[in-house]
Symmetry: D2
Subunit: 364 residues, 4 copies
């Protein structure tokens, strides 16, 4: 198992869905930065189950505790350990899952790899692991905003077959949070909500996409060749449960364009900065931020846990059928929004520090 991510700013997450606690150690966070429990809690509240009719009714307050690294509201430069106790444990809802491999879940692969498996919930493969990411990401996001003026906004851009086009230059968190599905386009949001409710009634589930933008990133972040900004972003996002695809800038649509139309022309703007007239590059060229908004899109598969009956096998390979009891989201997209923001913030903050090492060197 490999539970750490990042080089200079590094998170280590821990915890199963049903166990003592989940949490994170955030190491390398700059000293003397205000650390607010409220900021962390607010981010967790956006990720929490039970916050709307669209999400699982598992009820956990997800109250975070700071175990270390903070004194009088300021970071000490030492590891910040954040913990959330697991509260609402109903292993009985999962009883039948011990005896059958849930389709498109990690039950089978965990069993073969580890020879043991958390008896209820997804264990470590559960989306509950992302509690630690969101908690740490909230601090990274606050630091990026205060230090560099970076603004990060994510939103649901697709649910099932319903897509919404959103102005990435202007979209705000308030617009995103204005409805339960977290799509800042009101009409499409309504359609998405209706389709999620239909899926739930049908014992089915939906996938979709989260898009995100980071505005105000300075030129120069990213460490080619292997730690290109888009490479680390891709890894960050594809480490999230249920992700199937990642795009930077023009993405797969861009692969159908020609060089003439895809190239982003450089011009000098009114402020005298070199900018591009289009942003197919998604704010990154050669693995390094170019000052334009960084634009990513992340695809999530439909939730694997559904209440309809599905064919599967027992660990012994005997055919059986399985229908999920208990509580589960028919669509994870709304809750994925703060998670994508967190990973975007963690990657950017790590690279801000890595770049800072060189960009501020004293010169002979």
């Amino acid at each position: 198992m490999s539970s750490s991510f990042g080089q200079m700013l590094r998170i280590t997450t821990f915890g199963e869905s049903h166990g003592g606690a989940v949490g994170v150690v955030l190491d390398g966070f700059p000293a003397r930065f205000p650390v607010s429990l409220e900021v962390i809690q607010a981010a967790l509240d956006r990720r929490r189950p039970g916050q709307s009719s669209l999400t699982t009714q598992r009820r956990e307050s997800d109250t975070v505790e700071i175990l270390s690294g903070v004194q009088d509201g300021l970071s000490l430069g030492t590891p910040i350990a954040l913990m959330v106790r697991n509260e609402d444990q109903r292993p009985r809802d999962y009883a039948n899952m011990v005896d059958a491999y849930r389709p498109s879940h990690a039950d089978f692969t965990y069993d073969v790899k580890y020879g043991i498996r958390a008896a209820s919930g997804g264990g470590r493969s559960s989306a509950r692991e992302t509690v630690g990411r969101v908690a740490a990401g909230a601090l990274a996001q606050a630091w990026l905003a205060a230090t560099y003026g970076v603004e990060i906004v994510a939103w649901v851009s697709q649910v099932g077959t319903i897509s919404a086009r959103v102005n990435e230059d202007t979209v705000t968190v308030a617009q995103v949070d204005a409805n339960d599905v977290r799509c800042p386009h009101p009409e499409h949001a309504a359609a998405m909500i209706a389709s999620i409710e239909a899926a739930r009634r049908d014992g089915d589930s939906l996938g979709g996409c989260v898009s995100a933008v980071a505005r105000g990133v300075p030129v120069g972040w990213g460490e080619p060749i292997f730690d290109k900004l888009e490479a680390d972003l891709a890894k960050a996002m594809m480490s999230l449960p249920a992700t199937k695809g990642f795009e930077i800038g023009s993405g797969f649509a861009g692969t159908q364009m020609t060089g003439k139309s895809h190239n982003d022309a450089f011009v000098k703007d009114e402020a005298g900065r070199i900018v591009t007239t289009s942003n197919h590059s998604g704010g990154i060229q050669g693995g390094i931020s170019n000052g334009m908004p960084i634009r990513v899109r992340v695809g999530f598969k439909p939730v694997a846990t559904i209440s309809s009956e599905q064919e599967t096998v027992t660990p012994e390979g005997e055919a059986t059928v399985l229908a999920a009891k208990g509580r589960h989201d028919p669509c994870v997209l709304p809750r994925a929004v703060p998670i994508v923001e967190a990973m975007l913030a963690l990657v950017l903050a790590d690279h801000a520090l890595r770049h800072s090492a060189y960009s501020h060197l004293p010169h002979p």
Copy 2:
């Protein structure tokens, strides 16, 4: 700059497009494995410029030399350093590029980040850096095949707006290499070739997609949470020049499906193994290989270097126009095929070793 990739099997690449040499140090490669110069050279020959009318006419033999780590044709378990001298240097072709930022290239970001830039070619951001990846990947691929029976095949699945559907269970390298565009679907290949030649005549360029499959991967490779197999694959692919998107399994198309249709049902096959009846998961569940073919797709933008005139600025921000002289590919896709194979092999071999550490532990 960060030029190393992998944990137990680790590559470190070096070299600019126009300098003394490019190469790679492959560390952690198992001892006593046959290392054949021919195997490495054959892989490089598939990546080499000038191999067909579709690719750049830059003529370099890309002859590889083994500097260390091999004795009497066997690996010593020590770092294998592989070097290719740069031969065909025509810095004059790039003279005008010193004075203008090529649109959608790394010129601008490298200049700001490093305050210096290789005066010709793309320097380190050139696709020439991938020579080292392909050389090391050839050894990883040979080792995976011999040790685990893993078969890796990549092909061009899209050029511009032309897509080809290919049977991932049966496609072979011979089929891929049967034509210059490396698309194993003859009719679509012909259309792709025609479109590339049209783009070249038009001073334009095309993008597209490379798909790849790894067959025969055992159950159990991949290290959740952060080093999930798809996360490391995403990073590997998105560290390649010109990539805009990555998909695993059903990819973005899968995000439009519902849980009922997307879930891969488990069954026992004739051999008594647990397999899935569909493979939307792309051979990975919970970040761990499940024994089904691993399927990835990588999107490449249209080549940024085109011979048509484009608007841009000088380093001082003055407006200018630029038209590429010299030699360049109107479409990198055919040459990207061995590169994608190499990265797929390097990730899998690294994870084979990481998993081996635990799977073969003596037990008390």
Copy 3:
């Protein structure tokens, strides 16, 4: 700050001496191994303050809690988070230390580096950070014993100017724990105890050495060139607070010998194994274990905190005098014994896994 150590078996420690908690996340620990709270607690009890008259009277039960990674007494293969709440906080004892830099402490360097400092105790630089190491090390030690039959024993081999020679082939933990100073040589132990008590009365402190041996390590652990076993052991030990020196095998005494006498002759033993007739190498040759006992020695400086008055400066650089109030050990050596054992176990277990990746590879 960098709070992680190890590659495949990796610890991340967190916590200040006076804060919410201290702890560790142990990642990469093999699945299905019995994890006993008692084993962890027993190791912590050997490290705990207040266990004898020789150590600080700070009274903390150091009760450990397992937050994750364990189910029904077995490891899940997932991160094991262990936490110890801080109980006995007397910041008033440290009040004067805010205003003066304690000589040979980290107050000054932390202040300059981080611009902030835990207001009481040593914060992160306190030996209390080692709670996490000991807790994780206890599991590593149990795993090494059960899986490979490795026996690890550490003891106090020197206090001040009193040294004790101990038979490394036979010394046991029971002999070590037979007295408060943890020196398995009864007469020298008595002299050491007397000297520690004298130092305390005198408002002074003593240093010394901990020696350790790992018996039963198989041939082959260690990853040259940079992760040689002795290199990682050196880093592990020199990352402990107050360490001034590290030796492997013959150590500095060996540097005064000649090749003829220092070389360890190979012979075949009765069991047919290749062994050496002497062990100046300390069980490691070329960075790799050779099957002989691994012998290390670690030097600790005299405790910096003393109750006698010392000259120092305030953060503003004004001269002042400082005498420690509160509770402190006149000699840390007895409590360092389990800490050295923990670091030895963590390094060996990490390398056992790294070697296992290659040694059990299937062969073509």
Copy 4:
């Protein structure tokens, strides 16, 4: 095998003693710094065999070639690959070593671990591997001097039983290089030379110590907890062939002192800086540089290769005798001086960059 070292400034060495080449890739080196082939070559010349009567007569010019990362004498910020061809290969000198394990060499452990071994010389375990370290270290040393005014000097402080005390505040490289044994104390140097020549005549060998100092290191370098400056220095030095011990500051002698005498009192100096009146800490407190000279000492065992007959076994375990033919140093200490300087420089430069990331952060 693990052939990389460092986090932000990272070296990857490659090459066997008898193969195509040895070398290094230096990654993360700052851009726009003058890279002089002469500086690198001069460092290698100090490490080269055959430079005096005290060292092996193996004659290799060790001519270095820059393969990448430099343009017009300036670093590009990209990996700098440096290569030295192996010239003087006399595998016949080593013929008998294939059939017998050289005592206190890595032959046995490499054979067991890798199942294969470079047939002549030490292969990868040879001191020839340090060519890459010295080449990269020369650049790190030049950069530290130009950027921070750091001065690094190493010298032979002990040969066999002859020790020389040297003023660490004033010793210069010129004084060190004034004699063949590189001990800046002329009388002791003469005695050391005599003892080395006697050992050679006697078919024997000597060990000893190299001491080193880094003056002018700013306050703040080092990343507790695990990447404390002394921990990384210990690892760096103990990764060198033949090392048996490492000391920082007062070292093992300091363990015999008491707190009152060992503590370094803080005072304000004439320039208004906070300094210490003694330097038992060796310039590091809490793992972080405190502005005082960094003082280390490294112990090397007597050379294992001696021309006298020694008892050993064949790979099959049969008893045999072995006497080294060929050329070998009776004492490696003089040639270890530039190697210790290189490792000291590489660790400090890596930590300079790591600290720079935080110390120059823009503040909100």
